[in-house]
Symmetry: C2
Subunit: 600 residues, 2 copies
């Protein structure tokens, strides 16, 4: 099973074209500017420490992810100004790497004796991102100097961690190196890199009694071997990066036991621990998963990077299990919990993406200025740990990766995006405004394969103008070329959560197609938590400034009152309710916001 890479997919109009243009024209430069302001690029020069700044342990990852995202943009379109910035950073990395291949702008300048001594210090995480960046750079420029330097670094990591075992730990505090090493194996054909990825994966669970850790073994997925795992636990981003690599390893070595663990973990996530937006990680405490069905909306952490990582994990899982649930999860998170991470203008970012905002009650604790921890009500241009912004660039600029897979028998269409793809004699053209509406025309030549069209999990009625059979959530068409028209019925749909999700008790959410909607105070007044909607009401769809339509219905609100408690009467008054796509919230100032509304 092979994915068609984004370099073979051209997105020429529609929703994702607009988002790709935003990233190309605004985001990549905005992130570069903020990373420059904060000395992240200066740090690559590895100059002796001055008082100006101290390179932070994860700065290299921020920069590497920016290089990778920029390289994806450069693969598609020439841009000398951007290329110059990329090459300058790459030059600094190559020229300042240690003789043995090691590069880390923090540990090269400060704490030099502590290299690979402190598990929580993100060195292998940074290394993984540098490797991913180097592959993207080679693919964009055709020049392999950065890739060679990173191969040397990978060789050194192999020596220290696997051959000499001279590091103070083996499984890294923050996974990422594992999936990068699989990529490096694919990019270079060097089997040792895959074996090193396997090694890091397989060592999990051997160090549950590890000392000197700042965090518990469970937090690092180290309380048992990964193949025994049944639930997704610990730090959300770390977990999802790790399981993405585990899925790669399971697929490449045909490891059914590890594959089954990946399936169990994925199912636990999407069936019990995922927000309706596809975001996950219920608490800021450890940026972590908590318990089945514990999905608080207002204090949700739901980190943008965890949403990014679910897309990575879901894409890889299809290689282990040909089921539409994986692309369903990818679609859910792309249009909602991931995309909410970036402002409509492309310049600002959410780190955490809660499903409820109630700013009036965010700072209510008078004593000692302590408070519960709520998400920022507005996106920021940069963070001290600025992992999320470059993930926006990386994913949107390479979104073509998520559309198609194929084996000898079947070409799978996972996502509906207006685009043209060509690879290995396969050609597919999608003509669609999806998800503005559910009509998709596909002109295809599968080079002899069947064509499998994902019927989205959200879709309850659809029409395909040729014969098909349903297989694991895909409508499979036997013919290898021609045109097919699909029409996914896409009404506003009122959705309920499992009754164990106590935060959503009595509440429903409105979706249209894959898009989750929300009510903002700026449109609907105060006390949006108290707005009731009628699931049998009329929902009107209107074109809007938010790329996708707004949804309008008659809702119900209690009158304002001076009394605190009073006999409950039917005093609900009608009000017009305007819902906007969740991804577009918090673009018009601080406001109340609710995804989950009361059910009439």
């Amino acid at each position: 099973m092979k994915n068609i890479g984004f370099s073979h997919v051209n997105i020429n109009s529609g929703f994702w074209k607009i988002k790709q243009d935003m990233v190309k024209n605004v985001t990549v430069d905005a992130v570069y500017a903020r990373f420059s302001d904060t000395h992240r690029f200066d740090a690559l020069k590895c100059k002796p420490l001055t008082e100006e700044f101290t390179p932070h342990i994860f700065w290299d990852s921020d920069v590497a992810k920016w290089i990778e995202g920029a390289a994806y943009i450069l693969q598609k379109e020439k841009n000398n100004a951007l290329l110059k910035k990329v090459e300058a950073a790459v030059d600094d990395i190559i020229s300042n790497a240690d003789e043995n291949g090691y590069f880390n702008s923090h540990f090269l300048v400060t704490e030099q004796e502590k290299r690979f001594k402190i598990r929580s210090q993100h060195e292998l995480y940074c290394a993984g991102h540098l490797i991913e960046a180097a592959i993207a750079h080679r693919d964009a420029t055709g020049n392999d100097r950065f890739l060679k330097a990173m191969c040397k670094y990978a060789d050194y990591i192999e020596k220290v961690f696997k051959i000499e075992k001279s590091a103070a730990f083996i499984t890294p505090g923050h996974p990422e190196i594992e999936l990068a090493l699989v990529k490096l194996y694919v990019a270079t054909g060097e089997k040792r890199y895959f074996e090193l990825a396997e090694y890091f994966i397989d060592e999990h669970g051997k160090y549950s009694e590890a000392v000197g850790e700042t965090t518990a073994p469970k937090y690092n997925q180290d309380d048992m071997p990964l193949k025994d795992r049944t639930t997704i636990d610990g730090h959300s981003v770390r977990a999802l990066y790790l399981y993405s690599a585990a899925a790669d390893v399971a697929a490449l070595r045909g490891d059914k036991e590890l594959a089954d663990a990946c399936k169990r973990v994925f199912d636990n996530l999407v069936n019990k621990r995922m927000y309706i937006t596809g975001a996950s990680g219920s608490t800021h405490i450890g940026e972590a998963y908590t318990a089945d069905y514990h999905l608080p909306n207002r204090t949700a952490y739901a980190e943008t990077c965890a949403s990014y990582a679910l897309a990575l994990f879901g894409k890889r899982m299809f290689k282990l299990d040909k089921n539409s649930k994986y692309a369903d999860a990818v679609e859910r998170v792309l249009y909602n919990g991931f995309l909410s991470g970036v402002s409509m203008d492309g310049k600002a970012f959410f780190y955490d993406n809660p499903l409820e905002m109630d700013p009036d009650f965010n700072n209510v604790y008078s004593a000692a200025k302590r408070s519960e921890r709520f998400a920022s009500t507005q996106r920021k241009e940069v963070f001290s740990c600025s992992c999320c912004p470059p993930n926006i660039i990386r994913l949107i600029s390479s979104i073509g990766n998520y559309l198609y897979s194929y084996d000898d028998e079947v070409l799978y269409v996972h996502q509906y995006v207006n685009s043209v793809a060509n690879e290995n004699g396969i050609s597919v053209e999608q003509i669609t405004e999806y998800p503005k509406n559910g009509s998709v025309k596909i002109k295809f030549n599968t080079n002899g394969r069947k064509l499998a069209l994902r019927i989205p999990g959200w879709c309850r009625k659809f029409d395909i103008d040729c014969e098909y059979v349903m297989e694991n959530g895909y409508a499979v068409i036997s013919k290898g070329c021609g045109t097919v028209n699909i029409d996914f019925d896409m009404p506003a749909t009122v959705v309920r959560a499992n009754r164990r999700v106590h935060d959503n008790a009595g509440r429903v959410a409105v979706m249209r197609g894959p898009v989750v909607y929300c009510a903002e105070g700026v449109d609907n007044g105060k006390d949006t938590r108290n707005i009731r909607i009628d699931k049998k009401g009329d929902f009107e769809i209107k074109d809007s400034e938010f790329l996708l339509p707004t949804i309008h219905t008659t809702a119900y609100q209690l009158p304002e009152s001076d009394e605190l408690y009073f006999a409950a009467e039917d005093t609900w008054a009608e009000m017009p309710l305007m819902l906007i796509p969740y991804y577009a919230f918090a673009n018009r100032g601080e406001s109340e916001m609710n995804v989950w509304l009361l059910e009439k």
Copy 2:
């Protein structure tokens, strides 16, 4: 305006007789045993420190409150065993007091040089409770040796704080001394004690820039003079003890400005910051008030002592403002947020009294064992700071204090309790099972006054079998003696909260008379947060093991499901719902509990 004291009121049967018997037969001994176990009585001996224990700064208050409660019991009924325990403690206090009158079992033994140097160290708080205990002891025994010792202590406090001003602070970290000094003035006729109370009250707001504080001025009601106050802020118990004293001072010196501030603060509390149970203090952070309408149920602090203190405050406010809202608040808190503080067997206590428990989700944070802070799911026999248990004893044993006030014109009946009262030629007999039902027969001779019967705020329909006029929530009858029959209609009532209370959005509570009900998981299964009730449904009242009836209705629950998110259909299934009085929750093991239920 004078209250009839509990020594003139005999409660011979009914709800409060049962609770008084519980306190007399169980609670007073249970608390004594736990205070003995924990060396609180040993500490009064003020022996040189050993390794066995170190007297805690607030232990004297725990013991003093126990003595006071025991003395109230002894006023009503001879009990040599109990008297012996009281006298032993009193002897220890008297014999170990300093020559200058000072007594504090912590500062007499440890940190002797720090007396009255650290505002937060509860010395004046302990002193106030010792004074209250001494007055109760004199009233119970006729012997004034304890009272004399505490007058000497009060004289010393006057010298240090008011005359010499040699203490490191003036307004105490934890109020209590103020109301105790007013009581001491009333008990002894010594005007200086009242003037000292006035002094402590009037000094508030002069030290907003105070240094060396562990807490903010607002926390201590010290950010402005009390007369300027408009909202209730800071530590809930401290605030309510202080405003109780402020109301006393305002009444005794006819201070309209201070009285108006007390009214504003009271109104802010009951109209914007009070739980439906009468409890208050929304957060454990500083045990404090937060903001208008911020009344989270599950993380509510709602300390038992704050509920106790609201009864104190409400009783005093009537002297400033003849309105039934004060006795309404007292009734609300007595039957709900205060009484939930003690187990049905009288042995165990809640410190905080949340309106929702969801034990399955209390310990969900995997990382680093940190978690949000939820109340204990079960009552405990003693706490390291065990202020709440003796307040249960003090208030229940003296509940007769809350029934009647009179001036020259009118005898006011505030609370309906089966009892006989006699004072100054006034005699009142109440024959009632209230609040089991709403029928009250009153035989009265007011000694020439009118009779004013409070019409409870919860009551929407009532019948009185003689002529009356309504005045400020009281039905005023002109005749001075005879019999009156009142019938308060007491159906189960479905109550809603102000729409600004976002935690209660879409939710309603069931009350019957003054009693708030709740649904426990032990009766109603898992996911009680997801139970919907029909406010127009039938509510059946059944006698129960919980002193007052249970309420039964048909409710609605979603089926269990494996899906996390799904199209909302009308799948609500009927279920029998059993509600118990809120005060009786958590007496049958750990369980979910909800006061606020979904509204159909």
